[in-house]
């Protein structure tokens, strides 16, 4: 199913579940990106879950969302404690939240930043895989607003190939409608190109 060769070593043996955590701010669409990722995986015949952190968080406040992807049925519904992948949608989050908490040493950090890999590596102290992208710039350019969630999905697909780009694009198209869909897909594609995997 995952026909593309993974560009990294997140091991993809049968039934190795991949767990992801998304960091953003209330209103920025962290949940939506988790959702689209999971839906894509499901559309590809895999098993997947996506869920928000279940709190009454308000617009502006830091929020998280989760996703799981697996080849077989997922039975765990508890919060993800040790993610394989952490996605950071908003660069300013890192100042206030320790985004690397619990991340597996073999895991991957996907970050929206304009400051480049080195700065992020230093800031987070994370020594595993790192993917960076200036998602805000891409989003401003392509969508006209700093809504970075589809951009980051592009980086993720590039970095970890958990799902195919085409599947995600189809969902974006379905979900956002022709106008906004097209813009988001452009942003998504640019991320696939511009993401820095080191």
């Amino acid at each position: 199913m995952a026909g593309v060769e993974a560009e990294n070593d997140l091991s993809r043996e049968e039934s190795r579940m991949i767990e992801l955590r998304f960091h953003g701010r209330g209103g920025q669409g962290a949940v939506t990106s988790a959702e689209i990722l999971a839906t894509a995986a499901i559309d590809e015949g895999k098993f997947a879950q996506a869920f928000p952190s279940f709190g009454p968080e308000r617009r502006g406040a830091p929020v998280i969302a989760f996703a799981r992807i697996d080849e077989s049925q997922i039975r765990d519904r508890t919060a993800i404690q040790q993610p394989d992948v952490v996605m950071v949608l908003d660069p300013t989050i890192m100042k206030i939240v320790k985004v690397t908490t619990g991340i597996k040493p073999t895991g991957m950090l996907v970050v929206n930043t304009s400051r480049g890999r080195a700065a992020i590596a230093e800031l987070t102290g994370f020594t595993g895989k790192l993917a960076t992208v200036d998602a805000t710039a891409i989003a401003m350019a392509e969508i006209g607003r700093a809504i970075t969630n589809m951009v980051l999905l592009g980086s993720l697909v590039k970095a970890a190939a958990l799902v195919e780009a085409g599947t995600v694009e189809a969902i974006i198209d379905r979900r956002f409608g022709p106008m906004l869909g097209k813009r988001n897909i452009r942003a998504f594609r640019r991320a696939m190109e511009e993401t820095d995997l080191g």
């Binding site: 999971a38 995986a41 015949g45 997947a48 879950q49 869920f51 279940f54 765990d76 508890t78």
Partner: protein, 391 residues
């Protein structure tokens, strides 16, 4: 053919209610039930579902409208949670007494105080005397399937009782996960249109809800109890038919790896899935443990339960609710009551866990089973314990 899609569970079950072509929806929003009714409102606003959506001013009125609606012979649906369910409490007793086949989705959430929007079963457990049929779903697929089954059972002419299907708030209701959505044709094959046994019909006027004076109250309640008992085989039969049409099988009591198990974990609701993971791990490391999941809570399937535990030496029962100042949690209490006069009775070790949104990780199941094993090894049966209380 039936499509496998990724969908939020709340949306999926709302779609199932749409497939059931409900006539009237009367509901009041409350977290985490909101997505169910929001999606139904959208379906109605878009003309995808032809129904009256009554935007009531409270849950008390939500259930009251359901009673009025169902009494006209309309297929009637509602959904609620927690404080909302509690506010319906008085009317929850009345709908079954009137034998109105309302279907309600309860998205289980802890009851206040303190106020909590998170999952446990304290809301629904307070309604265990009321006379509603009650099932519990564990995942998206079950939520969808039990929605459909609920209409089938509730309106079944041998039943005619309101039916609740439960799903855990957030941890299930807000999950996006794969689900096979039934097709219209399947629904048509499975769910006949509702032919009410009674109706507010001016050409055949009946009086509904008269006073139950002492010479008749006992009999009225007894007919309700009998209706519940008679519903049990019908519920199972409706699952058999479900399997024929949809290919998925449900049972009142379901077991997993129960064969040869010394200890059976007993769960209700979505934690059953985590428990399965635990059981797999434990079995792999040689622990003789299995899982018993209560899918049908009311009417309680005593016979099936007794058969399912016949081989076990101990049960580790998880309650998602506390009976404050009582002997233990409501589920464990009832199970012990059912087992009381059995010749071979397993030890019953009770736990209360997953309260107000606290996760029950695999390690907790291990603690429970270890507790049960310790009892089998001769330790005194401990008092019911609440897990994860921070000292």
């Amino acid at each position: 053919m039936a499509r496998r899609v990724g969908m939020e569970v709340s949306i999926a079950l709302a779609e199932a209610a749409k497939l059931a072509n409900v006539d009237v929806i009367s509901a009041y929003p409350i977290t985490p039930q909101t997505h169910v009714v929001e999606h139904l409102s959208e379906l109605v606003a878009d003309g995808e579902l032809d129904a009256e959506f009554i935007p009531v001013e409270s849950e008390h009125s939500a259930m009251s409208c359901c009673v009025g609606s169902s009494a006209t012979g309309a297929r009637t649906f509602t959904a609620t949670s927690s404080q909302g369910l509690a506010l319906m409490h008085e009317i929850l007793y009345i709908a079954p007494a009137l034998r109105l086949p309302i279907v309600m989705c309860v998205v289980d959430r802890a009851i206040s105080g303190p106020i909590s929007i998170w999952n446990d079963h304290s809301d629904i457990m307070a309604e265990r005397d009321t006379g509603w049929i009650q099932t519990f779903a564990e995942n998206a697929q079950e939520a969808v399937d039990l929605t459909i089954h609920a209409f089938r059972v509730a309106e079944h002419p041998e039943v005619s009782l309101p039916t609740i299907f439960n799903l855990d708030g957030f941890i299930l209701s807000h999950m996006i996960e794969p689900v096979v959505m039934p097709e219209r044709e399947q629904l048509a094959a499975y769910l006949p249109s509702f032919v009410p046994l009674q109706r507010l019909d001016p050409t055949k006027p009946i009086t509904m809800g008269p006073v139950g004076i002492p010479p008749v109250y006992t009999e009225a309640k007894w007919t309700q109890e009998v209706a519940m008992r008679n519903a049990l085989p019908v519920i199972e039969k409706c699952w058999d038919e479900f399997e024929q049409v949809f290919g998925r099988k449900y049972r009142s009591i379901e077991t997993y790896q129960a064969e040869g198990a010394d200890v059976l974990l007993v769960t209700m609701g979505s934690i059953g899935e985590t428990a399965m993971t635990y059981v797999d791990q434990a079995r792999a490391s040689g622990v003789k443990v299995g899982l018993l999941r209560i899918r049908l809570w009311r009417p309680f399937p005593k016979q099936a339960f007794l058969e399912a535990v016949a081989g076990a030496k101990a049960l580790a029962v998880v309650d998602r609710c506390m009976t404050l100042g009582g002997v233990g949690g409501p589920v464990a209490c009832e199970l012990k009551s059912a087992l009381y006069h059995e010749e071979r009775r397993p030890k019953v070790v009770e736990y209360q866990a997953g309260l107000g949104g606290r996760d029950i990780p695999v390690s907790d199941f291990d603690r429970m089973v270890q507790g049960a094993l310790a009892v089998l090894a001769g330790k005194r049966v401990p008092e019911p314990r609440v897990l994860q209380v921070r000292e």
